[in-house]
Structures are given as structure tokens and as C-alpha cells.
Amino acid sequence: MDTFLQQLVNGLTAGSVYAVVALGYTMVYGIIQLINFAHGEVVMIGAMVAFTIINLLVPTGLPPLAIVLIGAGCAVPICMLVGYAMERLAYRPLRYAPRLAPLITAIGVSIILQHLALMIWSRNILAFPQIIPSQTYFIGGAAITTVQIAILAICLTLMASLAILVYRTPLGTAMRATAQNAQVAGLMGIDINRVIAITFVIGAGLGAVAGVLFGTYYGIAQYTMGSVLGLKAFSAAVLGGIGNIPGAMLGGVLLGLVEALGAGYIGDLTDLCQYGFPLDACEGGGHFILLGSNYQDVFAFVVLILVLVFRPQGLLGERVGDRA
């Protein structure tokens, strides 16, 4: 039971970060049907910028919270700029090209961003300085740290504000209209280019925050962190139904949970000894573990494939109007 609760807490924390990154993918896909492969790298750049600034500010003796806020405060506009630049330079000229073309430029942009980061920060792993006094609370046998609580709170706030933005403001209405039918939205007086650019900028801003949170949670940031994180977040977006904003949130949290619970239990479940296999390794209470927790990364993809096979539109269904 303890393992279960603990993995639930860990899964929720990681999952909420996935959800915020997944939002960046799903918003862009919803509006221009592009898998923005470079989004993971934007998240990485957010983490790297924030960590650099945080490490620079630590000797000044400012209060820890202020340092982290300044770090994140610098990362967000920089990532927004990156997001805007890539939309403007790499995707907008290809808006009416065959769909594979922008996908390839997205891959190109992701390679460029990753190696620019490598040039700036080299292969070093940036560590998050131990400045936040982390306290551990116990809820029914599961440990939860201050950092985890903060991550959960921030992610929930971000998701709630995004939902309000998309469903309750004129800008959100314009975004949804553009997603349904860009041409008609244009005829209704919506500046499509502006709306699309804003979508990218918002997604990148969310990504920057997610990068800082992810880095803080694991304590490190490196130039390679973007690709795996991006891949999982994209899986989360597809899981929930790509283009669907609540779907991305649900998908992210579910993916985090499945991953954490899977990693926690797969070793026990695939221990052949408990099923009575007559193996040498089992003598004297030994174990013969077929799949260990090092298969953690597989879960994201196995779940993704299963969901797509049985429910191709994702859990909450994809944005309608895409089938025309």
C-alpha cells in the first residue's frame, strides 16, 4: 500500500509536468495540425536558462524564492521568443505545403536548438543548487516534499489559467475558431497569423515553466533532456486526444501515473519465481525478475500504442473538424 501511495504521489508530480508540456504540443497541433517536434527543446532551453541564472544569483544571498522566480522570469520570455522565431521562420512559410514538409523543418529546428544549447552550455549537467529548504510531509505513509507540492500547485494553476484563456476570453475564442477552420475564421476578421503566433508563444511560455519545474524536481538540467521529455509529453497529448486541451491535461497526468506505478510494480509482477517456475535462481527465496524498473520508459509508449489501437482518437477524442 505504501508503494502504491508513494508512486501515486510521484506519478502525479511528474504527470502534471508532462501535462503542461503536452499542452504546448496539443495547442499547436489543434491549430495548424503540426507536430512541433522542437517543443521539447524549448522546454530544455527554459530549464537551462533558468538554471544558469539561478546559479549566478545564489552568491548574492537573495531569498531563495526570489532567485527561482527571477530565473523562471528570464526563461519564460526567452522561450517565448524562441517559440515565436521558429513559427515565423520555419513553419509559417510552409503553412500550405504538404504536411511532411513542416514536420521535417520541425525536426531540423529541434536539431538546431539542441546543438545551440550544446554550444552554449557544453555537455555539462547543470545542477539545481540546494537553496530551497525541502521539507517532507507524510500523508498516509507516502512522503511528499515541498517541491512536489509546489510543482503540483503551479501546474494546476497554469492549466486552470490556460483553460480560462481558451474558453472564456476573446483571444481564446479566436484560437478555437482558427482551429476549427482557419479560412472562415479569417473571413470573420480574425488575424490568423497573429493567433497562430500567439499560440506558439503561449505554448513556449508554458514549456519554459515546465522545464524549470522538471529540472527542479530531478535536480539537474542537460542539453539532452528535451527529447525524451518532449516525446513523453507528445505521447500524453495523443493519449488524451491530440488538439484537445483537457485531453492533454488528462493524458499527462495519466501517463505520469502509469509510468510511476508501472515502474513500481513491474519487477514484482514479472518475478517468475512467485509463479512457481522451477528455476535455479529461485532456490532459497531468490528472484528471477523478467522486466525490471529500467523498462520505465517503455510504459509511456506501450500505453500510447494500446490506446491508439483501441481508441484511435485518444481518450477524450480529438478536435472535430479535422476529418474533412
Binding site: 505545403a97 504538404p98 513542416p102 521535417i104 516525446l231 523478467l290 509508449f301 500504442i305 491508439l308
Partner: protein, 358 residues
């Protein structure tokens, strides 16, 4: 001048052309060996990439199924060869037994990937194949416990080179006064295989199957309405593409003598997709051009950028690898911006683009 080269009036000119191309391909390794054996090796890897790109072209270019995990089949072929011809299990089967096995196993994996994903549309298929590629790699990385099959991240060493009755492709040999090093012999073998596969591709493209694939790519529902068995043909595309990847993987294993999961990462899949798209999806010559360009240009950069930096700044400012990848990314973006259908677009794609623009 132009009149002289009119092949309708002088059909023999075609044969002269073939002879010239054949001769230069035959002499290429010796010319390269003058610069350094490394370049022969680089050429061999370039040919392997051509093989991979041609295999992927069947899936992506002909049938229009975007596969972002293609390198998994390369890995399957490579590991099949490595496990059956290395000290890992103390098996040393001859290569002409293993290569077909490798192709068959890879084809099986292709069907295993294709079957559950038949109904998926473009982007979903892309992400599932990508996940599939990662799953295969993670398994290769971890199948060292509890039973050691793949030897985990350390990989498998001491893989047998191709051998035929005492004639080993790996060893140095002198013949007719010419010096045949290992890489040069592999070059000819690879060249023979790649020519065979080009021939298969050319025949395939205009066959009943090839035209059916094209129909599926253009409009799957219409294709089914015309009586095309879309399910089996899509599976066939996956299986064929995968088996080419498997053959390439087996050859990679033998040439390299050592493999590890490191060689089969996502970036490699993306590299092969880039070759296909950059060269011109669906056009065999375009795909070959893409593969050759993307495997040579980075190498040339690697050899020029470092001395250039030393000459200009007196020290190495940026690792050549970083510059190589930066330029690679930039090239992908620029080519797509200015030639969205690739460098040598296939006739059908070109027509589509023009229609859309009109």
C-alpha cells in the same frame, strides 16, 4: 551539342553512359583509398544509408505511411546477425544463411508493427512507429538480465565478417597487382546489393503493387473502392521496407564487427527520414541523392571545419560535431522552405504541389 546527345537518335549513347557510371563506381574505392581508407569506410556507410533510405522509401514514399521508428528494423537485422555469428552464443553461421533470416525476422517485426496500426492516420502512425523504435532500443539495452541475450549497453563484440570458403571480406588481399583492403571488398559487396535493391525498387514502382501503393497514398478510401486490398498491401509495404532494413542491419553488423544499442537511437531514424524527404519522397534517384548527400556532406564538414577553426582562431572554438549537426538542422529547414517536395521530387508529388499552389 544537345542534338548529339539525343538518345532517341543514338541509342548506344545510353550504354556509353551506363559504362561510364559503372566504371567510375568500380574505380571509386581505389581513388578514395588514395585519400585514405577512412573515406572508403565512409562510402560504405553511405551505401548502407542508401539501402536504408530505399527501404524506408517503400513505406514512406510509395505507400505514404510515415515511419519514424525505421531504425528498429535495422537494429533487428543487426542483432540477428550478431547473435548468430559471434561468440555471444558461440554460433557462427555463414552469412548467406543469416542475411535471409535477418530479413525475415525484420519483416516479421514490420508486420507486427503494421498490423495493429493499420487504421491509424498520418501523425498518429508517426508517433506510434516512433514509440515502437524506442521500445525496441530499450529492450536491446535491457535484455542482458535475467538472461543475457543482447549484452545490454555494452553491445556485442567479435562479430564474424562475411566469409565464403576461406575468402574473408574482412581481410586484406592482393589480387592482379591491386591491393584489396577489407573496406574495398565490402564496398563491392555493398554496391552489388544496393544495385540489386535499386533494380527491385524500380521494377516495384511501376508494378501492380507499386501502383496500388501509390493509390493508397493518394486516397485510401478511393483505393479501397477500386478493389485494392489496402490491408494486405499496407502490411506488405511494412514488411518489405523492414526486410531491406534488416539486410542493411546484418551487413552493418558484419562490417562493423561490433554493435550496441547506441547505434540505433531515434536520431538515426530521423536521419533516414530526412534523407528520404530531402531527396524527394517516392523518387528512387532522389532518395539515393538524399542519402549520399546527408552521409557525405557532414563527413566533409567534419574534416574541414576543424582545420579551418585552427587556421582562423588558432584553437578549436566549437566541436566539429556540433557544427556538423547545426548545419544539418539548418539544411533540413532550408531545403524544406525552398523545395518542400525534396531536391529531386517525384513526378506525382510535383504535380500535386503545383495543383495545390494553383
Amino acid at each position: 551539342m544537345q542534338q548529339f546527345f539525343d538518345t532517341r537518335k543514338r541509342p548506344w549513347l545510353v550504354w556509353v553512359g551506363f559504362a561510364l557510371v559503372g566504371l567510375s563506381l568500380a574505380l571509386l574505392p581505389f581513388a578514395l583509398a588514395q585519400v585514405g581508407t577512412t573515406w572508403v569506410r565512409i562510402t560504405n556507410y553511405a551505401i548502407l544509408y542508401v539501402l536504408l533510405a530505399l527501404g524506408l522509401n517503400i513505406v514512406v514514399g510509395f505507400a505514404g505511411l510515415l515511419d519514424l521508428g525505421y531504425i528498429a528494423f535495422y537494429a533487428v537485422g543487426a542483432y540477428t546477425y550478431a547473435l548468430l555469428a559471434s561468440p555471444q552464443f558461440n554460433l557462427h553461421l555463414p552469412f548467406w544463411v543469416i542475411l535471409p533470416i535477418g530479413a525475415a525476422v525484420a519483416a516479421l517485426f514490420g508486420v507486427a508493427l503494421g498490423a495493429p496500426t493499420l487504421k491509424l492516420r498520418g501523425d498518429y502512425l508517426a508517433i506510434v512507429t516512433l514509440g515502437f523504435g524506442e521500445i525496441v532500443r530499450i529492450f536491446l539495452n535491457n535484455l542482458s538480465r535475467p538472461v543475457n541475450i543482447t549484452n545490454g549497453p555494452q553491445g556485442i563484440t567479435g562479430i564474424d565478417p562475411f566469409k565464403l570458403d576461406g575468402f574473408s571480406f574482412g581481410a586484406y588481399q592482393s589480387f592482379l597487382g591491386l591491393e584489396f583492403s577489407g573496406p574495398i571488398k565490402y564496398y563491392y559487396l555493398l554496391l552489388a546489393v544496393v544495385l540489386g535493391i535499386i533494380l527491385v525498387n524500380l521494377r516495384l514502382q511501376n508494378s501492380r503493387v507499386g501502383r496500388a501503393w501509390e493509390a493508397i497514398r493518394e486516397d485510401e478510401i478511393a483505393a479501397r473502392a477500386m478493389g485494392i486490398d489496402t490491408r494486405n498491401l499496407k502490411l506488405l509495404a511494412f514488411a518489405m521496407g523492414a526486410s531491406f532494413g534488416g539486410v542493411a542491419g546484418g551487413m552493418f553488423s558484419a562490417i562493423q564487427g561490433f554493435i550496441s544499442p547506441e547505434s540505433f537511437v531515434l536520431v538515426e531514424s530521423i536521419m533516414v527520414v530526412s534523407m528520404v524527404v530531402l531527396g524527394g519522397m517516392g523518387n528512387i534517384w532522389g532518395v539515393i541523392l538524399g542519402a549520399v548527400l546527408l552521409s557525405f556532406v557532414p563527413e566533409i564538414l567534419r574534416w574541414t571545419v576543424e582545420p579551418l577553426q585552427h587556421a582562423l582562431f588558432g584553437r578549436q572554438l566549437v566541436e566539429p560535431e556540433v557544427i556538423r549537426m547545426l548545419l544539418f538542422g539548418l539544411a533540413l529547414v532550408l531545403v524544406m522552405l525552398y523545395r518542400p517536395a525534396g531536391l529531386l521530387p517525384s513526378a506525382v508529388r510535383k504535380r500535386e504541389l503545383e495543383e495545390r499552389a494553383a
